[in-house]
Structures are given as C-alpha cells and as structure tokens.
Symmetry: D2
Subunit: 342 residues, 4 copies
C-alpha cells in the first residue's frame, strides 16, 4: 500500500531533509512539492543533491490537488504556515514543522511571536509533536505541531527529571551549542561561511529565545506549577547538530535512573552509561538522540548532556516519526539509517 505525501515549503533545509528521509520509507510516495518562490523548478534545480530522484516539479501551493494526498508536511516559515494550513482541506492530515501551533495559549503565542494567531481554532486541535511524550494523541491527531529543535533537545533531558521530582525546579540552566542549519537557508551576514567558520558566539542570551515559550508551557504543565529555566543558545561552526548541556541540582544516580526508566524502550533515545557524554558527530544525519549523565564534583549537582541532529530528530525526522503514527505505520519506518561519520 502506498501513502501519498505532499510537502509544502520544499525548498528549505527541512523540506530537503523530509525528501531525503521519505526516499528511504517503505510505503510513502511524494506526490506534490509546494514552494511558491521556486514554483516551476525541478528538484534538480532547487536541490541538485536530489537530482537522481523522480519527483514532481515544484508548484504553487494553491495549485496542488490535495484530494489524493494522505498526509501533508508543511515546512513553511512561521506565520505563513498558519494561513496556509487554515486553507487546506479540513480532513487532510497535517504535520507542521513551523512554530505556529506549538503554543496552546494564544496569549503565549502572541507574547513570543509578536502577532495575534490567525487560526486560533486550529491551534486548539493541534497536538504537540514531541513523539515520545504525546504518542497516543499524535496517533489520533489531524494536525501535529513539530517542536522547536532546541526545545526538543532540552525536553529530552528535563521532562523525565521534572516528572520524577529529582531536580530543583528553580535551578535549571540549559546551555546549547547549535549548528548553523538550524537557522535555515536565509541570507544573513552572520550565516556566511566567512563570518561563522572559525567563530562562535551566544545569541538570544538572557531568556529571549522563542523556544522558551515551549519550555515554559511543557515544564510548567508537568510540574503543576510555573517552571522557568535559563536557556542560552550558541552558534558554532558546524552544519548539523545540537549539543545541550544542562546544569541541574539533583543526585546523578537518581537522574540517570529517571532517564533510564523513561527511555529504555525508546527506539531513538539512547542513554549512555553513567559518566559518559555524547558528541554531535555520533548522531549526525540520524534520528537518534544520545544522552549522558555526569555527577559534578560538587555534591548534589549534575550535568546532563544531550546530542541530536537539528534537521532530523530536531525537525524533519520527528515529523516523519509523527506522520508514521498518524498513518498507523511502524513509527521507525524511514528513520533507522545510521549516523554519517565521519
């Protein structure tokens, strides 16, 4: 049986990653590629690395015939996404990779994104797409909101610890080191090779990064009280990867146990033996997330480090995993490829 897929916003990095992954899927077939700015172009023109694939020409989104589509990935920019999805056929299953449906509270959305939400009714239907924690809801959802890539990484570390009550909720610091593809294919001076290579820096320092909206929403819900963490992302000269270093107050063994209990049966989340730490080179191009726990020399302090690929487990891989659930397929279909090293 074949499942017919459309990808909207196919000319960005997450769109290309979706195509790469679906190429290895056992039953999905791409039937439409939407990308308004590059409509009319072939995939070989937009992404020469995909030139060997027999794929449809990019077209205007409004020209796509969705009647035969089983599921639509939407990899459009924030704000555009909510308008486009609102106009899609009501029954069409949608996995959105933008930020538009991540925050359940319209006021929180407006606070972090600066504009009122244009599709608040849709927002109510949307299920938050962190697969390992919303599996049942995702399987029955019509619209799934992909998480922020940084937000996913931080939650893989912290959700089990908050739920298990093994860390101090008022002393959580998350220091991220992010590769540049997370910023997308946009033309900005600080994304140029000459600026970024051999240079690295923090950004959105002090609690202004939008993914904090997701952390606040999710962590407070788990804890049953407001939880606000400190979160500083840094841009490093690499193309793929997020390395999250979490500084928490809590016992290392209890923390390792809580993570082990949560993830032992998960196909993609791999907890390292106590005292070992992960590296982005070991998850690149894959859907795996490696997590390590190390006790600090100061009693009662623990460092937890997680690594995942922002384009795969952090966005397009997560999206495919959710789509598998929504279509009743094996959750890992198309996602078991090993990381690319070196």
């Amino acid at each position: 049986m074949t499942h017919s897929i459309a990808i909207l916003g196919a000319s960005g990095y997450t769109g290309a990653e979706l195509i790469r992954l679906i190429t290895g899927h056992s039953s999905m077939k791409i039937k439409a590629l939407g990308g308004n700015s590059k409509a009319g172009q072939t995939i070989a023109q937009v992404f020469p690395h995909l030139r060997h694939l027999d794929l449809p020409v990019l077209q205007q989104i409004e020209e796509i015939d969705f009647s035969s589509i089983d599921l639509c990935f939407c990899a459009l920019p924030h704000k555009t996404s909510q308008e486009v999805i609102a106009a899609l056929p009501a029954g069409l299953k949608v996995v959105d990779l933008s930020a538009d449906f991540r925050l359940r509270d319209p006021a929180a959305y407006e606070k972090w994104y600066g504009n009122p939400h244009a599709a608040p009714e849709l927002q109510k239907q949307a299920v938050y797409g962190l697969t390992e924690f919303y599996r049942a809801e995702i399987a029955g959802a019509r619209l799934v909101a992909g998480t922020g890539c940084n937000a996913a990484t931080g939650q893989y570390i912290l959700r089990p610890l908050i739920a298990a009550g093994v860390i101090d909720l008022d002393q959580i610091i998350l220091d991220l080191k992010c590769a540049v593809s997370g910023a997308g294919r946009s033309l900005k001076e600080n994304l140029l090779h000459a600026e970024l290579s051999e240079g690295y820096h923090g950004y959105a320092i002090g609690g202004t990064h939008r993914h904090l909206g997701e952390f606040d929403q999710e962590f407070s819900a788990i804890a049953g009280r407001p939880v606000h963490i400190q979160f500083t992302p840094h841009l490093v000269p690499a193309n793929r990867g997020i390395l999250a270093t979490a500084y928490v107050s809590g016992d290392a063994a209890a923390i390792h146990d809580a993570l082990a209990a949560q993830y032992s049966a998960e196909p993609f989340i791999k907890l390292l033996p106590m005292g070992e730490a992960p590296s982005t080179r070991h998850i690149r191009g894959s859907n795996f997330c490696h997590i390590g726990v190390v006790a600090d020399r100061i009693s009662g302090r623990t460092i937890v480090v997680a690594a995942l690929d922002n384009l795969t487990k952090g966005s397009s891989g997560q999206a495919l995993q959710n789509a598998n659930l929504m279509l009743g397929l094996d959750e890992t279909d198309g996602l078991m490829m090993a990381p690319l090293f070196p």
Copy 2:
C-alpha cells in the same frame, strides 16, 4: 533469505562506512567484526555513532569462524590485507578494499608499493572492482579488488573518452581536490584539525601518487598503447568528497555524448546537462557520482568535472555494490540513500 557478512578491519573509516551501509541492506546481516588492535571491544566503544546497532563484539581475525560466512569485506591496511586474505578459506567470497589486488602486473605492484607481492596467485584471480566496467567479471569473481578512491573518480571521467577516441591521449591532466577521510584514521600531524582546517595544499605532486598505477594499467589497456596522465591530488579542509577536474583536448559535445552513451542506464553515475558542473556537497554520504562537461573558451579544449564521496562510491559503497553482484542480489540494495545536505 539472509546473507552472512564478516568485516575485517572494522575499526577504520571504511569499516564504519560498510557497517552504516549494510544497516540499510535488505538481506545482509553482519555476523563477525574483525579488528586485531581493538579486539574485545564493543562497537559502541569503537564507533559510538553505531551504538544503537546489535552487532558482534570485535574479535581477532584468526578467531573468526568463517564457515557460516557468505562474504567477507576486508578493510585492512595495504600489505596486511594480502596476508590475511591468503589465509582465508579458499571458497570464501572476498571484497578487498585495500590496494593489494588492484594491479595485475606484479612488477607494477612492486614499483608502486615498494615490496614484492606476498600472494601473487591470488592476484591473478582478483577482478578489478570498478563496477560499471567489470560487472560481468565481478558477478563471477571470488575475490574483487576495490579501486583507489581517486582512481575511481578519474576513471569515471576518462575511460569512456579514451574508449571512444574523442580526446588526445597525450594531453590529459587530472587535478583532484580530496577530503581528509581518504587518508584514513591515522595519526599524522597534517591530518590534525588545527593544521588542516583553513589550510589546503597539493601532495604527491609530479606523478608519485600510487593511484597512478591504476590509471596506467587501465587506460593503457583501453587504448591499446601506453597512456600516462598527469595527476595532482590536493587535500582540502572537508571530511568527505573528491572533486576531480580533468583538462582534456577534445570536442565538448563529443565528450558529453561519449559519457552519456556510457552512463545513461547506470543507477549511480549521473551526467549533468552540458555546461553544468558538480559539487561535492551534492553527493556526500551517497553512492552517486555526478559528472559535468564544460567547453573551454579555447576551441578543442574541454573541462570535465566529477564528484563522488570517497568513503561511499570511492570505497565502501563500491564494495557493497560489488558484493551485491557477487551474491546475485540487486546491485543497488543498501545504496539508494540520498546524499546528506546540508
């Protein structure tokens, strides 16, 4: 049906790449991993990026039970390889990734590698592993010699041109730009990040690179007369990729036609439209080779550029493609993954 596989020399980059590829194969299963210096270690210790796989512990090669093995990949260093393969069961199918069986003439082997061959009888049996040109022989072979990664790239450009008689055989210049994984995992000062990043240089300049032995052997055989090309490799600060720029005397249209005639039905060799040139970013992590042809402003001169991934199409991907042929399987099994971009 399952095909049982052994990999000798599993702790190097080509060994890791073989494991990555076989992970996506429909019928091969890895039954033994040989690596003498790391015998006793798990794959998670040797290659943490493969920790999610259920693989055998590395063992001494002499301790491996080959009786149930269908095919053995040998990814050992040059010279060691010929000794190890000579001691394997006589009927075992072997794909060797070293340089040991590439040169048919023992004198040529000794000239380029500096020592007499230790298994000259085996050398006679070995089939040269450039799949697209030795397909039938490979399918019936017991021992296939993987080509040099630079040698493969240059031959993809030049073999059809020499065979078609469309270029001047005495005016062939091949300028290669090679990523660092081609040098393997050896500890050398010039492979350190601090030395190589932000720096690039030519090496083995003037005709001393060993892959010239393969060029001489193959091109002379095709032409029916001695052919000696100029060949200069350069090391560039990237991990995967070979970009070969060939300067030839010949008509661009005739050259494009000869390449098109050769490769139009090939699953992995993609000829670009006349005037377009490839980039290593578009083949990384895949088994594809992109080739482009551009006419020079000087009449009768043409530039042909090819790009492939040295670890995949240049060695381990080629090896798996050959193994598929040797086992009577679909030649593309395990090899159709899209490149990783960005």
Copy 3:
C-alpha cells in the same frame, strides 16, 4: 611624519583588512572612513573586531573632506568605484581595489564587465598594481589599480616563465582553489556556511572568469603575441587563501631558475627549494606568497604551485605595498607580520 589616509568602502572585507594592516603601519593614520550604506555607524558596530581602535565614524563619501588626505584607498564595488574616483580631487593619490582600472583597453573592459567604462580618461592614467613588476610606475602614479586576487596569484607563477621563454605558451593550465572571503561579504546562498562547509566546486569554468582579462592583457604584452591560458577557479571551504596549481610544458630546473632570478630579492615572494610545494596555511593573514616547483614524471612537464592570502597579498596588502611606494615610504611598512598558524 604622519600620512593621512581615507578608506572608501570601509565596511567590506578588503576595507577591514586595510584597517587591520594600517594599524601596524609606522606613519599612516586613518582620517576618514567612507561607507554609504553604513554611514553614521561606528567601527565597533560595523566591525566589532576593530572596536579597540580609535577610528572616525563611517560617513557618506560625499561628506568627506579630502583636502587633508594624502592617499585614499577605494574598496568599493566594481562600477561604483570608477564613478566615485572620477569625482575625487584631481591631485589626490588613489589606490583602487576594484576591477575598474585593471584593463587598459576599453573594449576589453567592456567585454569582460559588460558595460562601457565611465571614466576612460582616468583609465589611461591608471598603473596596474602588481608591485613586483610595476614598481617604478607605481611610485610615480596618481592612480593605481589593484589586481584581481586570482590574477595576482597566476601572474606570480607565470610572468617570469613567459618572460624567460621557458614554457610553451599554448599549453598553460591554471587550476585555482580559492577561499570564500574572495567573494566578499555579499549575501548569496552559495556563500552560506551550511552550503559551503563540507562542500567544494568549480565555478566560472571554461574561461568565463573576469580575471582572464588581466591574464590576457599582461601575458600577451610580455610575450609580444596573444597568449590565452586555461583557468578554472574552485571554491573551497576556507576563509582565506588562494592555491594556484599551474600545469606547464617546460623544464623544471629552467622554471625554478627563472623564478629564482625574478624573486630572490623580493621581500614577500618566497621560492621554495625544488620539489617542495606550498600550503595556504603557511601564508594566512600575511603578505607573503610561497611558490614551489615540481617536475612531473612526464619529461618536459612541470607543476608550479603558488599560495597567497587573497585579502592580504591578493588585495589589501598589495594595496598598502603600493601606497607605501606612492608616498615614498619603505615598501614593507605595515606588512611584515608573520602568518597566523594555526
């Protein structure tokens, strides 16, 4: 004694490099920085790495008082440069880093740059700025045209060989590997870190690169007959550096001798011992150019490799060297810093 300097186009990479170099000059002092798009900004805003310097605020070029300026560097884009320089005070010494005054023949200019020259009278006055070959003319010039960075590299190899008659003029191939800062600070997709890092490719293949205009002009003048070379640049994932590999027909010893005769007294051009080849890592951030000669295995063929930093010896360092000559100063003032390695 102080020499007052203005820099127009101070917000690009060559402008920044000029400031860096002049910081170490014994008598030059920057009095004005012109940059229309960033007028009103401080240097700390435009180039945070120069924030420790006491420099004027950027201003509109037309607002600069040139009456007290001794020499003006013009680091503006092509075409803009000729218009701006035409409007400067007639007696002001100018070093132009753009392409606007490199080609003496207006027809050649129009052929390579696509538009008629807007200041043909100025073009007649301009001296070509390849210091080692136009030293006397530069010392007396009012307007010096900085060379293309690729053009400089190729000429350092080939001029002495053409002049000495030691190579075949119809068999010259120049294969360049160029770092990304040579493309400037412009916002183009292929200059993004995510596109360029781990990827490299040829461009302007087949004889369409504009620096060929300079090669044709200069080499033909030396030879007294038309000389057309083949020239292919490649973009590699590094920020600074040009590595030029020249394939010539000629005797290696004669070639080494010709280069030694030309450069033995030059402060910045260093000829390596026969058989050694240079690397970009050894000239980064400096005004040095390293040249190496290697005989090919094919008798009568020689490979000559040169390395320089495109932003220093290839443009801003050359410009300062020429400015020193024009002001009657020690030619090496501000330029003797050692390369930055690693």
Copy 4:
C-alpha cells in the same frame, strides 16, 4: 637596545605563536630556539609559515648558551618544564607557559597533576601570570607562571565579581567552548579533522579539568573562603578561541559596573556595552579579550560571556605581556595587532 630571547619548546603551537608575536616586537630578538625532538632542523622545516624569518636553527636545550640571554620563554610540556627550568642559570628571567608553577600549594599540585612537584623551591618564587591582577609582582619576578588558557578566561569574568561581592559564591557555573589548538599539536584521534570537524562535545565534565586547581586557588584567595565553581569545557570545530559563558546570581548592572571599574584602563580587556555579547571571531589572532554582560529574564540572574584567543591572550600573548613587564618595557609592545577577521 636589544633584548635577547630564548624559546624552549619552539616546535609546538605556543612556541610558534611566541615567534609570531616577537617578530612584531620593537626590541626583542630571538637568539636561541630549543626543541629536543626537532634539534638540528631549521624553522622552515618545523614551521614553514615562518620561513621568511632569519632565526637560529633549533638546538638541544642543554647546548644553548644562556649567558647572553635576557629572558627565556619555556613552552615545554607539563612536568618536563619544571625539570628544565630547575637546571637553568639561577638569575635568568623565565616565563613558563606550562602548568608547572601555577599552583602555589604543592599538595594541590599533586592532587591535580598526579605527581609530586620536582622543584618545590622554584614553585615558591613563581608569580602567577594573570597580568592585570599581578602586574607589580610580575614586574619584579624572576619566574612567572603562565596561566591556563581556560583559567585566564574564567578569571577575567569572575575575579572582579568575587572581589566586589556582587555574586553568590555558591552558584557559579562556567560553560566553556574551546577551539582545538588549546589541545596542542599532539597526535590524538579526537583531534583529527575527520573526527572534530562537524562534531563537538563536552570533556572533563563534572569538575575534573585541571584548570579548576587555578580557579579554586585564586577565587578562594580573593573571597577569603573556599570557592568552588562548576566548570565544563567543550571542544568545538575551530582552531583558535575560547568562549566562556558564566551563569551567576547577581544584579546585571552591579556586575557590569564591577567589570567596568576593573577594566576601564586596561589596554586589552574590552567590556562591551550592557546587553551585548562577544564572539571569538572578533578576537582571533589578537591579545584582546571581549566581555559582555546580559541580564537574564529571571530576576537576579546574569550571564557574562568572555572571548579570547587561547594561543594569544590565553598563553603566548600573556607570556609576552609579562615578559615586557619583567624587562621594564612597554607592556603592550608586540601585542597591539588587530584581530584577523574574517
């Protein structure tokens, strides 16, 4: 007047950096280069980027005539350094770049470095080389111990805050992102380009990094009570730079004031305006350290970020600055070069 300099351990990265810096010094002249493993080699063989310099051949340390040397830099490995310095003429001024004399307490030395100190009498004389805080002692010292590069970066942030009493001493977290040259030129698998490029990771997590010995010693001395911070370094794919992100409890304005009061007159430490943060690209190759302060969204929490070049301000630049003081010279001589960007 000329000051005669010897450099022991000239074949490592800090040795090369010392030579680069001294090249731009107004009165120092290198008279001897000691490096036992490469004795007999010229600088062009050991460091081709310094081939333009007229420097002595490397020699065995025991063969150097120290009678005419005014000051000796010792860039040898830990443990070797203390033995070599103990054997130098008693009156010779020495700047040591190793870890051997940083810790005043022999028990602390043995705890962090695993062996008893071989020259405890010398250790008593040694002055800790963090220039801005030990200026007077350094000026009168015979032996100055260069600080750890990570230790310097952290102290530039934290010393003024501890001294001013504006932060909670029990809640200090220092997350470092370090470039690879800090690991030296040693041949280790994880320093290979193919391993490090496109990959990054934490190391010595949990309080095991030796530079903690320096933090403990210095911060406790300032506070007059034991101070233990959390410190996690991460290796990122770049060659030069340390970016330190400090998470502290304290008022951002008070913190900015304390840093401003400390550094306003310092030539190399540049405090950014409140709310701005530094980048390693803006200090590369220079002796500058940029520091930025940002208030967190959580009241009473502040993030302070510092950037410096580990080979310059973090080691060889610091060493030269100290040598200038010891010789009664202008402290900034040879150190005012602008950073190399891009």
